[in-house]
Amino acid sequence: MIADKKPLITKALLDEIGVSLPDHEIELLSEHFETTLNERVINEITEELEVEQLQQLIDTHFDSESERAAWLQANVSALKEIIEDETAILIGELVEHSDRLA
């Protein structure tokens, strides 16, 4: 859903929070971060949808990811807010555990 975007976890971000890791570890951490973020966003969207909207989502067949994204943006009014909040929460958790990573 958000795979096309630039990676959220970068070396610059890690330096800003005092985490110094080799490049390959940074890649592994970024991959794990995005997977976790995707699950949390999906869970939050699912919680946000009504039963009829959720049934419609299951019944609707989307030919592309963009159609599905358009459907979500049309039915989930707080989609952008949900994605931003979950991203901020997940980065906050990374900051919380930054001393263990450094």
Partner: protein, 492 residues
């Protein structure tokens, strides 16, 4: 020695007579008495240590040791000695305390004392024990005693040796006390008178008879240079015992005296000969010694002494002048020396001070050089330290800044997380509110007539409106979210 003894006619060094005189003069001339012409003097110490003519005569003397006599003999000698002292006026006896040079009889006493000291008092007894046989045994006590005296009388040279000891000591004493030993014909007369007095005391009338007979013989013979008498005396001196017999025969034939008188005369003749011989030797030696003493002391030649004294005084004055000049020069030289020493000391001090000053300057220059080097090193060191401190400060500052930046970034991200957590909680709360409002609204709508029922959109809007949280509720959720994070340790 061939002459008969005549008082006052003893030969002196100034009047050489016999061969013995000549021998004495030769001995005296061979001695070194010093040169009065050059002012050389011999002090008393040298005089005492200088060999005397009598010392030169010592080899001619025989040995006689009075200590070989028995105690009885010694007692007899002492008694005789006391008697002689009484007769001759011993200066050592009480009442006769005359100094030796003041008593004209002391030398006579010395001669007679030395002579009689060796004569036993009991001549008969000694003669009967030791000379009981022979011609001497036939002599009467007086003549036998006289002969025995002669036979036992020590050799004149031995007497001379004994006398020398006492004479030397007395003579030294006389010299030390400034006195002198008198010598004159009067003394000799007195001395021989003492001898006559002593012999007269000892032998009484016999001696007087002998003396009278001797005078008769002298008057009969008329002269003392009779060749017969002279030959007899000479033989008697060489061998008294052998001469005694020929003398007895000659005298018996030539005179008509009785044998007794003849014996007495013979004994006294021999006695007198030996006494004369010993006395002559002693007197001669004393005279030689006196001559030697006068020569040494310079007394016989006052002119030489006066000249020597003048020369000595002149030399003394010259020496004193030279001494004064030398003393003055010495004082001047001492002053110059002191000045020179003072200058030398000052120069030495100046040079020493200069050397010390130069040394001090050199040391100071070295110290300054070392100080400059140290200061330059210190500056370089301080520069390095400052640089290091600057670097350290820069590093620390960057680290701090970086830490601060990191902390700020973290705080900012945590603030976003709190806001996100708050919105998420608000969504969950509003969702729950909507679902509750929808159920209530559905129940209300079912009870309303269809025409009064709201459309789906109107119902959704109204449910959203009623489900929406107020800002206070959202702030409560924010506090809740913060507490939750703090409880998990995510926030400080």
């Amino acid at each position: 020695m061939s002459e008969r003894y005549q008082p006052g006619t003893t030969a002196t060094p100034d009047r050489p007579g016999s061969s013995l005189d000549q021998e004495f003069n030769d001995i005296i001339d061979s001695q070194d008495w010093g040169d009065f012409n050059t002012g050389e003097r011999i002090d008393q110490k040298d005089i005492l240590n200088t060999p005397t003519p009598l010392d030169a005569l010592l080899p001619y003397t025989s040995q006689s040791n009075p200590e070989q006599y028995t105690e009885e003999q010694s007692a007899q000698f002492n008694a005789l000695d006391s008697k002689i002292r009484e007769i001759t006026g011993d200066p050592d006896m009480p009442g006769n305390e005359l100094r030796p040079h003041e008593d004209p009889r002391w030398s006579t006493y010395g001669v007679m004392h030395d002579f009689l000291e060796a004569i036993p008092d009991d001549g008969n007894r000694v003669a009967s024990e030791e000379n009981g046989s022979g011609d001497n045994a036939r002599l009467e006590p007086g003549a036998a005693a006289a002969l025995r005296i002669v036979s036992r009388f020590p050799h004149p040279e031995a007497l001379l040796e004994q006398y020398n000891e006492k004479r030397d000591s007395k003579e030294r004493h006389a010299r030390m006390t400034g006195g002198f030993i008198p010598e004159s014909e009067e003394y000799n007369t007195l001395r021989m008178a003492s001898v006559d007095q002593m012999l007269s005391t000892l032998y009484g009338e016999r001696y007087d008879a002998f003396k009278q007979s001797q005078s008769n013989l002298d008057s009969e013979k008329g002269a003392t240079d009779d060749p017969v008498v002279e030959q007899r005396d000479s033989n008697q001196e060489r061998n008294p015992e052998a001469t005694q017999e020929s003398f007895d025969n000659d005298e018996a034939e030539r005179s008509n005296i009785s044998p007794e008188v003849h014996e007495i005369l013979s004994g006294f003749q021999m006695l007198r000969g030996d006494v004369r011989q010993g006395a002559n030797s002693v007197i001669y030696a004393v005279q030689k010694t006196l001559a030697h003493s006068r020569n040494v002391a310079g007394m016989p030649n006052r002119l030489r002494h006066y000249r020597a004294k003048n020369r000595a005084e002149k030399r003394l004055n010259t020496a004193e002048d030279k001494f004064e000049t030398a003393k003055q020069r010495y004082e001047e030289a001492s002053e110059l020396q002191d000045m020179s020493n003072s200058r030398i000391v000052n120069m030495w001090r100046d040079r020493k001070a200069a050397r010390r000053y130069n040394t001090m300057k050199k040391r100071e220059a070295k110290r300054n050089e070392r100080l400059s080097s140290f200061q330059s090193k210190e500056s370089a060191y301080n520069l390095h330290v400052d640089t290091a401190r600057g670097r350290l400060t820069s590093v620390d500052k960057k680290s701090v800044e970086r830490a601060e930046a990191i902390e700020k970034r973290r705080e900012k991200l945590m603030e976003k997380r709190i806001n996100a957590e708050t919105r998420k909680l608000a969504r969950v709360e509003e969702r729950n509110n909507r679902r509750r409002e929808r159920g209530e609204m559905d129940e209300q709508q079912k009870n309303l007539p269809y025409e009064d029922r709201m459309s789906h959109t109107e119902r959704q809007n109204k449910i959203r409106e009623k489900s929406r949280l107020s800002p206070e509720e959202i702030q409560v959720l924010r506090v809740k979210a913060t507490r939750n994070l703090q409880a998990r340790g995510a926030l400080v």
